[in-house]
Symmetry: C2
């Protein structure tokens, strides 16, 4: 499995993904699920993928090699003139892969399964974040819905639902993403280290951070440890039920 | 959907379920998913169900009316002599419902989908907790794995993974169950109030609590509020990343 989360914030964008891919218990590997197209001063475009690895790798290759337009020109993520065009191009790549392998994949595995998060900014245009589906269609993040998740999304969703806002600063969003990933790593063995983390500050047109976080990263380790300890302490400080029933019985040693 | 969690503890057992059932967006109802067989001094048996409502209701009816043995006697959850026999009886009821409706349900809905959590104690025997699957087979909770979840399980799993232990006292387990439910309620609209909560203190052979918790319950409301506030405070107190990169850029207003 996979877990990726992308966040659109007033101050910029944070993208975080794990790197575990498995096809059965004895075939577990590490693959990068985050792909970056960066031309400082011109554009930053980041794509994260979940689902069938062969589909997402082929999509990425098509996006690097280019997709032919009707007028004979070839379009890549380095030539699109807006993030909306970037999302359409990724959708087009997904549709092309579907036309190549869709039938055989459905026959072999029961489905054509890929989902992608695409975010970034092209010079002179706005910062935007999209989620792209297996059919090539897509939706866009907004102030009200500032994050998208793909893959094993549920374990890490409550903390984002509770705390993340469009106004959350980049450092806070990074922390939140890492805590959301921590909950997922703890509860699902098919999501694994290392992590890929990208941070982009709005209107800078270059990445503020593009980091691989390994198992022994001191900050991530101490964050996980502090969070776990704080949650336990917080939990212990919460009041016990005050319902009137035979509850007094429960206070004893039991 | 549904969310139910059952916890086996050194001091007893806690069972908690929501009450929302939906079959499509415009068919949302409230059904009790927790069923109790209690004969004070003799036995306490609690069953929670998720999945297809018609299957689980039929299973419960079979268990109330009784299942015929080969020797002509009829067995119910009030006549079984141990929790292991209770689990086998519930499994047998599931298999009977499968033989009645399995083929037509698979043809109509694509699957025969039910899962159950069964816990309790019969006089002179131990307190035990089981999870029962659609095939009628079952597994048992242990000191190492002291809880089972069914239904929409993932949102509420991280907090249990982090904090729940076999040694957790009943009051603490109640709080944990309610917080796990809170995360699920926030993240999934198909899980809904009111909740059913049952608490059993080991070897007492009667329920310590059998409570319906409504939307306006003062304790649950204040617990949710305190937890949410504490999580935000805890999160804000966690240190920001100390990686050496251009991170200083991120500290600014963005």
């Amino acid at each position: 499995m996979t877990y990726c989360v992308g966040m659109l914030l007033s101050s910029g964008m944070v993208m975080l993904s794990d790197s575990r891919t498995n096809a059965g218990v004895d075939h577990i590997s590490t693959f990068r699920k985050m792909h970056v197209w960066e031309v400082p001063g011109d554009r930053v475009i980041v794509l994260m993928s979940a689902g069938n690895l062969s589909i997402s790798q082929t999509v990425v290759n098509l996006l690097r090699e280019g997709i032919d337009n009707a007028d004979g020109t070839t379009e890549t993520l380095l030539t699109v003139s807006s993030m909306f065009d970037a999302a359409r191009l990724v959708g087009e790549a997904v549709k092309q892969v579907h036309s190549m392998y869709g039938d055989s994949l459905v026959a072999d595995t029961g489905g054509f399964n890929v989902s992608l998060i695409l975010g970034g900014q092209v010079r002179g245009r706005g910062l935007r974040l999209f989620q792209i589906y297996s059919a090539g269609n897509f939706i866009e993040a907004s102030r009200q819905t500032p994050f998208f998740q793909i893959g094993e999304t549920k374990y890490g969703k409550p903390i984002l639902d509770r705390v993340l806002e469009y106004a959350t600063p980049l450092n806070g969003a990074m922390k939140l993403g890492l805590l959301s990933m921590d909950s997922t790593l703890r509860s699902n063995i098919s999501v694994g280290m290392p992590l890929s983390l990208v941070v982009y500050k709005r209107d800078t047109l270059e990445l503020a951070m593009n980091r691989t976080i390994h198992e022994d990263d001191p900050y991530f380790s101490s964050l996980r440890e502090s969070w776990s300890q704080s949650l336990s302490n917080t939990f212990n400080r919460l009041p016990d039920p005050d319902w009137e029933e035979p509850l007094l019985n429960l206070m004893g040693s039991g």
